[in-house]
Structure formats: C-alpha cells, structure tokens
Subunit: 192 residues, 2 copies
DNA sequence: CCGTGTTGAGACAAAGATGTCTCACATGGT
DNA sequence: ACCATGTGAGACATCTTTGTCTCAACACGG
C-alpha cells in the first residue's frame, strides 16, 4: 500500500509549500501563482495539484494563520497573572507568525461583505478577554477598549513585521518594541 | 480663450475624482479603474483623461497623501513643548488622512525594490525628530527608537482607520485611542 | 442657432493571470 | 527490467483588467 507513504510525503510537501507561500506573500501580497510555485521550488502544475486555485491557497494560509495564532495563544498562558506578563508572552509567541498575520490582516480588508472565518472571532475574543481581565484587575486603564487594544496589537504586529523585513528596525527588538509600546507607551514613567 | 476656464474646471474635477478614489481604495485596495470611475460618478473614459492609467492614479494619490501629511505636520506645530501634546495634535490633524495613509502604507509594501517617493522620507524624518526631541527632553523613554515609534504610529493609524470603517471601534474615539495608546500604553499609571 | 469642447457608452486589441490539459521524464518499488 | 506515480514543462482557452479609440449626445458661449 503506497497510499500511506504518498499521503505522508504530500502532507510534508504541502506544509513546505504553504510556508514558502506565506513567506513570499508576506513580502509581496500580489505574487502570482507562478511566483508562489517558484518560491516553493515546484512547478505551477504541482502547485495546482496541492491547491485547487489561488482562493484555495489563501484559504489554506488563513487556516494556517489561525492555527498558529491559537497555538501561540495556548503557549502564552493568557490566564496567568499578571496580565502584562501574559501580553509579553503573547507577543513573543506570536512573533514567528507576524508576517503571515500581516498578510492575512490586510487581505481581510478585501473581504468587506463576505463573512470571514469564525476562527478570527475566537482569537479576537481570547485576546480581548486578556485585556478585559487586565482592566478588571485594575492593571490596565479602562479608557482604551479591549476591542481597540486587540486591533492595535494586530496593527503593531503588522507594522513591526514590515519594518523588520525592510530593515527599518532590528529583528531582535521586535518583541520588546511591540510589547513595551503596547503596554507602556512612549511616555517615560517614574515607577517601573 | 476658454482654456483657463476649462483648466479650472478640470482641476476641481480632478480633485474630486482623487478624493473619491482615495475613499474607495481605502476600503477596497484592489478596485478596478471601472469601479474607481463609477465611485467618482464619471465614466472610465473620462477617468483616463484625468489620469493616464492606474499607475498615474496611484502616483497622484501618493502625492495627495504626502501633501495632506505635510499639511497636518505643519498644523500640528511639532516644535512646541511638550512633545506629548505635539503628538496628540499630530494624531488629531492627521486623522482625516488616515484612510488614505493606510492604503498607501500597504501599497508601498509592494514597491519592494523600487525607490519610493522622497516625500515619505521627509515626513518620516519630521515625525522621528519629534520623538527624538521628546527623548532628549526626558519626556519619552529611550528604549523605543524614534524609527520604531514612527512606524508604530503608521500601523496604529492604519488599524484605527480599518477598525473604524468596519465599525469595530467608534469613529469619535479615533484620536484619543491612537494618541493615548501611543503615548501611555495599556498599563494604568499612577501619575497623570 | 451654431460651433467648440467635453462627456459617456461602447468596441477593440493587448497583456497578464488563471485553470486545465497533455506528454515526456525521473524515481522508487516489485 | 517493468510499471506506477508524481513531477516539470509547456500548450491552450478563458477571464479580467487595462489602455486606446470612435462616435453620438450634451452643454455652453458667441
């Protein structure tokens, strides 16, 4: 029975193709199927054997992004005190997926009317819940809504990923820059 | 000589078309020339009479964005103390252009290699100088680089514009949300 | 009323991307 | 050596967008 073997190899290849596509589309969101194929080191025909079309590819990338996000949320242990440390863990864990997130974040601006994957709603809720918990504990200010803080996190992840990929900021500072700006802002404060 | 008259009318029309295009492309960055024309209430032929092609339109939008940005920078009086108030003024003044900025910001991710308009470099410098001034005055923390704070401002403007256009946050909170997050962050602080 | 000049509608070809197909080739197991 | 399966290269039709063109309709000043 070679089906199992082939199935396994296909899965590996599929994952590799998916990650190549993510890396490319992060930099050039309008890349053609031909460019995606070349970036993955395969032909356009083989790319079409893995993903029926561009839509299917983007859908698969969205599923990958959601999966990586939820895995990062799990690893970040958002329920443990204090909330600001949970935010720092979250940014650290989600960093590897920031580029993909940036692509999907802007891509989603196009889906205007069409309903978007419910996975995002679940992720939004979990992140917003973290901010809400921090507010309830008196740790976070209450004039910035959890929804906005969640949105701002996405925006900062996206601009951070772009800034790093274009060399405007150092990659090693990514986590610190985003987490500390989101938590403490630009203004210097007396207490640590 | 009707040339003067027609020239004047053309200019008005051109500006109107430009702003319609900005409003549309802010929401749907892949809109076709046909959609842009319809949004402006003119035919595709007339759109082509104003702008040679899509590239020319985007170039014109970029010039408009740069002009509005610089005008906002001027109105914000970035040199006046204290720096945090200058940041608040900046966000308030730049808000009307946030949608256009978001479009151009993501659009520029595609211009990878090609050199981008030097107008952006000038704007980047002016904003970074504001943050640098705040740091020199001991007002802003020094572990967040001016370049990153500038980038973060763009990211927050973009995510703010999208969040408002999709109803995830209230439009009237736009300025406060962005400025206060950028300045003070999410963590509650004792001193005002 | 008559030109001048602009507009809108549509036809048209060119270019680019997509999806499908065929065929030759390589690889790996039997 | 043989066969099966996946792959790459390329041909092909189709679709969308673009850019250019023509022509009739319209407005407006003389």
């Amino acid at each position: 029975m070679s089906h199992m073997v082939y199935g396994c190899l296909m899965a590996v290849d599929r994952d590799h193709v998916l990650r190549s596509a993510a890396a490319l589309l992060t930099r050039k969101s309008t890349a053609t199927m031909d460019e995606v194929a070349k970036a993955a080191g395969i032909s356009r025909a083989t790319l079409h054997r893995h993903f029926a079309g561009r839509d299917a590819l983007v859908l698969a990338l969205e599923a990958l992004g959601i999966a990586e996000c939820e895995a990062a949320l799990d690893r970040a242990r958002l329920d443990e005190d204090p909330a600001r440390d949970a935010v720092r863990r979250l940014v650290r864990e989600i960093e590897p997926a920031a580029g993909l997130l940036a692509f999907l974040y802007t891509e989603n601006q196009l889906f205007e009317g069409e309903g978007q994957n419910e996975g995002w709603a679940r992720i939004d809720d979990r992140i917003a819940a973290l901010f809400r918990r921090g507010q309830a504990a008196g740790e976070f200010r209450i004039d910035l809504t959890p929804a906005w803080l969640t949105e701002a996190l996405y925006g900062l992840l996206a601009s951070g990923a772009w800034a790093v990929s274009e060399g405007r900021v150092a990659g090693k500072d990514f986590t610190h820059m985003i987490a500390e700006l989101l938590l403490g802002g630009a203004v210097r404060r007396e207490e640590s």
